[in-house]
């Protein structure tokens, strides 16, 4: 494994559905350089896609004049990712999705993105800008850790 501490990789994509795939491609390339195993790269790709979709949709309200920012910082044994938008962020984590309630129409079929992010990476934290505009989700995925 190659150590590559240093300046982060920075990406900015327009707030348009589909562009989350550009973030996936960038993140996958960084993780591959760091020596992450393929299955961990898949976890990272899905987590980043969901974070970007939320930033595009809920943070930036699909306003294509706003960008979603992604920073990827390689540490010795982990990759730290921030996905930034210009929205107000979230005040509390949504409840864990319940497939039985969904199947019986008691909760929206949607609402699984943040749950998947938390399930797929080692750390996930949603942070609001102290000045009230802008929010980000910070993800950490470790090199030595497998999800299951």
């Amino acid at each position: 494994m190659v150590k590559l501490n240093g300046k982060p990789v920075e990406l900015r994509v327009p707030s348009r559905m589909g562009y989350e795939k550009v973030a996936m491609g960038t993140a996958a390339s960084v993780a591959k350089l760091m020596g992450f195993p393929d299955e961990r790269i898949e976890d990272l790709k899905t987590a980043i896609a969901e974070a970007c979709i939320n930033a595009i949709e809920h943070g930036n309200h699909l306003n294509e004049n706003l960008c979603v920012g992604v920073t990827l910082s390689a540490h010795d044994d982990s990759l730290e990712v921030k996905v930034l938008d210009d929205g107000a962020g979230i005040s509390k984590l949504p409840p864990r999705p319940d497939i039985d309630r969904k199947m019986h129409g008691e909760e929206d079929a949607r609402g699984m993105g943040m749950f998947l992010i938390q399930a797929l990476v080692d750390e996930a934290e949603w942070v609001k800008d102290s000045k009230g505009h802008g929010s980000y989700v910070r993800l950490v995925i470790r090199l030595d850790k497998e999800t299951d």
Partner: protein
């Protein structure tokens, strides 16, 4: 911007000569896939089992999974059996995480899925 979902509808016979509908998806399964998933599901014969073929799907996100869940809801109401195959190991894990496997079994390939219904 989103890549279109294509769905083709196949009719096959299972081992006992019973008719089975196969919905073969390709492209992305995302928020733009409403018609490709739910629209197509509306057209299938509700008295036959349905197999969902994901082997040509390149990308699935949680909005797409929500549409799969809505399809399972419909099938559940109709008492119709649904099984899926062709998901990558990663998306088998993701489908399991959200609990879909409680309402639809996942199989490695078409033969295994066909044998199950």
């Amino acid at each position: 911007m989103q890549i279109e979902t294509k769905t083709s509808v196949d009719h096959i016979s299972d081992g006992n000569g019973e008719r089975v509908t196969v919905l073969r998806f390709s492209g992305d399964i995302s928020s733009g896939s409403h018609d490709a998933l739910l629209g197509t599901y509306q057209t299938v014969n509700k008295s036959q089992p349905v197999l969902l073929d994901f082997s040509k799907v390149e990308y699935i996100n949680s909005s797409g999974i929500a549409l799969v869940i809505q399809m399972l809801m419909e099938a559940n109401k109709n008492g119709q059996k649904i099984a899926a195959f062709g998901l990558t190991p990663h998306f088998q894990k993701v489908f399991t995480m959200v609990g879909i496997t409680k309402y639809a079994s996942l199989y490695a390939d078409e033969a295994a899925a066909k044998a199950s219904v």
